[in-house]
């Protein structure tokens, strides 16, 4: 208790010194957090953009569907499943889809594409497809037309109100073919999708593929990435025996996860370098502080203070200041991160060009995931604590006479 009291008084005795030390920790935490949320944010956005249009974070489909993506592995809507999905709080929205590969042709051109039968309202809550329409309009429920991706429209030389022919394989080997007027053209960020996707209203797609009232999948959006696996397990448990298969985006789009994992592993090294710089900053401050107080320490030891006790007091001071710095840093940077999460930083110049060229929005959207703050705060606190142990060594080595005269 006495240690704590002494440490507390020392901190207030030299406010200026305390302020400098606290600020060195404060800035360290801010930089560590900023780097983390910016890097994670870039990938969270890439993942969100990709999965919302393709697999969803989690997808429910007929077991075996993912292996061959055949429209034979479809399922009918079940009130029980709907109830389960609507009941889970982690699911922000979900949408049914009926997807199949087909050939799209117009004039003398043909291209293999993915046709997706959608419920216009629900689809929009998941992928915001209506925001991506660049000409024509978005689908509404009774429509008989089609929306096609911009790259595909360019290849097939289609404009709004032109007609496109779809040919494919329907339910149980039935021939699938149909003619559809183009209602809208959508521009997608992911180049592969932009070149080969089209959307039909659910009823038209079910008619085209002769599936009746069946879907190939339900795609789910969730509000917290950290709960991905838990939610999957919980859904599996609840739907056991109904013949569904539940997969996460990591299983469905492994190459995206692969990219993410590779970058995150590289990020470990880069964070390491940042920590090195941060540690040096903090260490410099601690070293200077010890230097400045050498005279004070000398006198304390001369009048009978034990070196161990003195070292203990100094370490406690340092840890207290670190805790204050870390908490202040986390609190101050949080609104900044939130702001840049809501208002992503737009990249301009060369940085923006390379991404804009391929239609990925040239923005950095900071991640607002709280775990980033806690982890970085913890790491910086650990660095500061370990570094402050240097004081024990330094105090132990003090020669009283030299110290008093310094």
């Amino acid at each position: 208790m006495m240690y704590l009291k002494l440490a507390w008084r020392n901190m207030w005795r030299s406010r200026r010194r305390t302020l400098i030390t606290v600020s060195s920790i404060f800035f360290a935490v801010i930089f560590a957090i900023l780097m983390r949320v910016a890097v994670i944010g870039i990938f969270e956005k890439l993942i969100a953009d990709t999965v919302s249009l393709s697999s969803g974070y989690i997808q429910v489909h007929h077991s075996g569907y993912w292996e061959n993506r055949s429209v034979d592995s479809t399922f009918e809507e079940s009130p029980k499943l709907t109830a389960i999905l609507n009941h889970q709080q982690e699911i922000t929205s979900w949408t049914p889809r009926l997807e199949s590969f087909a050939l799209a042709s117009s004039g003398d051109r043909t291209k293999g594409i993915l046709v997706s039968g959608i419920d216009p309202q629900k689809e929009n809550s998941v992928s915001h497809l209506s925001n991506k329409i660049i000409s024509g309009r978005y689908l509404s429920n009774g429509d008989k037309g089609i929306i096609i991706a911009e790259g595909l429209a360019a290849y097939l030389k289609l404009k709004v109100n032109d007609t496109v022919v779809l040919i494919g394989q329907g339910y149980e080997g039935n021939m699938a073919s149909g003619k559809y007027p183009v209602i809208g053209i959508a521009k997608l960020g992911i180049p592969e999708m932009n070149k080969g996707m089209a959307w039909l209203p659910m009823a038209s797609a079910q008619e085209l593929l002769s599936t009746g009232a069946r879907y190939t999948s339900l795609s789910l959006l969730i509000n917290d990435q950290n709960k991905l696996d838990d939610l999957k397990q919980s859904l599996i448990k609840q739907t056991k025996g109904a013949g569904y298969e539940i997969m996460t985006w990591k299983e469905m789009i492994p190459e995206l996860d692969q990219l993410f994992q590779a970058k995150m592993a590289q990020n470990v090294i880069m964070s390491g370098v940042l920590y090195l710089v941060i540690a040096f900053g903090i260490f410099g401050t601690i070293l200077m502080m010890l230097n400045e107080r050498l005279h004070e320490f000398g006198i304390l030891i001369a009048i009978g203070m034990k070196k161990g006790l003195l070292a203990g007091v100094v370490v406690i001071e340092m840890v207290l200041m670190s805790v204050v710095g870390v908490i202040l840093g986390m609190v101050c940077i949080y609104p900044v991160v939130l702001y840049y999460h809501e208002h992503p930083i737009k990249l301009t110049g060369d940085m923006g060009k390379s991404t804009e060229l391929y239609n990925i929005e040239p923005v950095i959207q900071m991640s607002n995931n709280l775990s980033n703050f806690i982890i970085q705060g913890y790491v910086v606190l650990m660095i500061a604590t370990v570094l402050s142990l240097y004081a024990i060594f330094k105090i132990h080595k003090i020669k009283v006479i030299d110290a008093i005269n310094s």
Partner: protein, 405 residues
């Protein structure tokens, strides 16, 4: 001025701990910046290398009209002659002429969209590493109508080695044609998206179905020295003005996208590191200046004016920075030099990486040309950080400062 130099110089030696801390901060800052760039470059090189070897090759030739929509009518005029000419070139390692079209592959259970490459097995082996990624069967045995597909696609289609599949695509005349092929080999490359969307057939088999005769859609060139790609690219562009000659940098949007993301990350990270360095130095200098209040008070009391105190502090930091930069450069050359030979193994940081069969070792590539800009940036940051503490020192009142302990 001369006197200021002398005082600053002596001050540096008078308090060695303080000097060492500032020198070390500058050295670490320089090292951090250089290491980052080397590491990023290494990571990019690794990705480029694997993409170039499996998919892109160094340089590709196309008919300019072909690339836009892969219409099979647009073949390269006198393709075989160009291949013959390239094969004789001393700088070229291998050349492969390909037919390329998109279509639908179907098994008894399902269908998928694929890009079909008609290749001459012998030539293609030397250009792309896919022949080394065969996990079942072989890379063409020489029989008619054989196809080599990716493992992912095989699973999706529910087919095994030696099964038959049907390819459907548009022929030269615009009609839909279909051909039945037997699976001769199954490959697994590092890029699972590529595995799922690309299939290989014999050149002649595909040519017969397309009706393109001995027309060629794509010529892929592998050079002996990848560094010379740009020079080669320029020469060939001049030599064949009617054809579309592209180096891999122009060819791959995915690659450009990836390097684009990498660049963004690099700018952000280097910016943050420099800022962190700046605050580190500011704090250290501030502590160092405030510690010397008594000293400055004394100097001012015996008649040194404020601008001189200010310049003395700045001079000290310039000198320390000048000492720190060579130390940083030396340290960088030693550590990054050694890492670039042995590589940095990332497998410890991500189990998923090895699971995907992704290469885990990154070889940082030190860019000598970056030493100057990074040194300047670090020096600028360090000197800039000394200004605030120096201004702070000017505000001291001599009489009060002397009495500080």
């Amino acid at each position: 001025m001369n006197m200021l130099f002398k005082i600053a110089w002596r001050n540096i030696w008078r308090n060695r701990t303080r000097s060492v801390v500032v020198i070390a901060s500058v050295a670490v800052g320089l090292f951090a910046g250089m290491f980052m760039m080397a590491f990023f470059q290494g990571a990019i090189n690794q990705e480029i290398q694997s993409t170039v070897e499996t998919q892109l090759s160094h340089i590709q030739f196309h008919n300019p009209a072909f690339i836009a929509d892969k219409d099979v009518n647009f073949t390269i005029g006198d393709g075989p002659a160009i291949i013959g000419r390239l094969k004789k070139d001393a700088g070229v390692k291998a050349v492969s002429g390909r037919l390329v079209t998109t279509g639908m592959i179907s098994s008894s259970s399902t269908a998928a969209g694929v890009e079909i490459h008609g290749v001459v097995a012998e030539d293609e082996k030397a250009v792309s590493t896919i022949s080394k990624d065969i996990i079942e069967g072989s890379y063409f045995t020489g029989k008619k109508n054989e196809i080599v597909i990716g493992e992912k696609l095989a699973i999706k289609l529910g087919v095994k080695l030696h099964n038959k599949i049907v390819l459907t695509f548009q022929s030269k005349t615009g009609d839909l044609t279909a051909g039945s092929f037997r699976i001769a080999g199954i490959f697994r490359s590092r890029n699972s998206a590529f595995d799922q969307t690309t299939v290989f057939t014999g050149f002649d088999d595909l040519a017969a179905l397309l009706g393109t005769g001995n027309g060629i859609h794509e010529i892929a060139v592998m050079l002996k020295d990848g560094q010379k790609t740009d020079a080669f690219d320029r020469t060939l562009k001049k030599e064949y003005p009617t054809l579309l000659v592209q180096s891999w940098t122009e060819l791959s949007p995915q690659m450009a996208l990836l390097t684009g993301i990498m660049d963004q990350m690099m700018y952000i990270i280097i910016g943050i590191i420099l800022l962190a360095l700046m605050f580190g130095i500011i704090n250290t200098m501030l502590m160092a200046v405030l510690e010397r209040q008594r000293e400055f008070g004394m100097l001012m009391a015996i008649g040194m004016n404020k601008p001189r105190v200010f310049f003395m502090i700045l001079l000290e930091s310039v000198m320390l920075t000048c000492a720190g930069i060579p130390v940083g450069i030396l340290f960088t050359i030693i550590t990054v030099g050694s890492l670039s030979r042995h590589g940095i193994d990332l497998s410890g940081f991500s189990q998923a990486l090895s699971q995907y069969g992704f290469s885990n070792i990154i070889y940082p590539a030190l860019q000598q040309s970056m030493f100057l800009p990074v040194s300047l940036m670090t020096a600028f940051t360090a000197v800039l950080s000394a200004i605030y503490p120096a201004i702070k020192a000017l505000r001291f009142k001599p009489a009060e400062a002397i009495h500080k302990i």
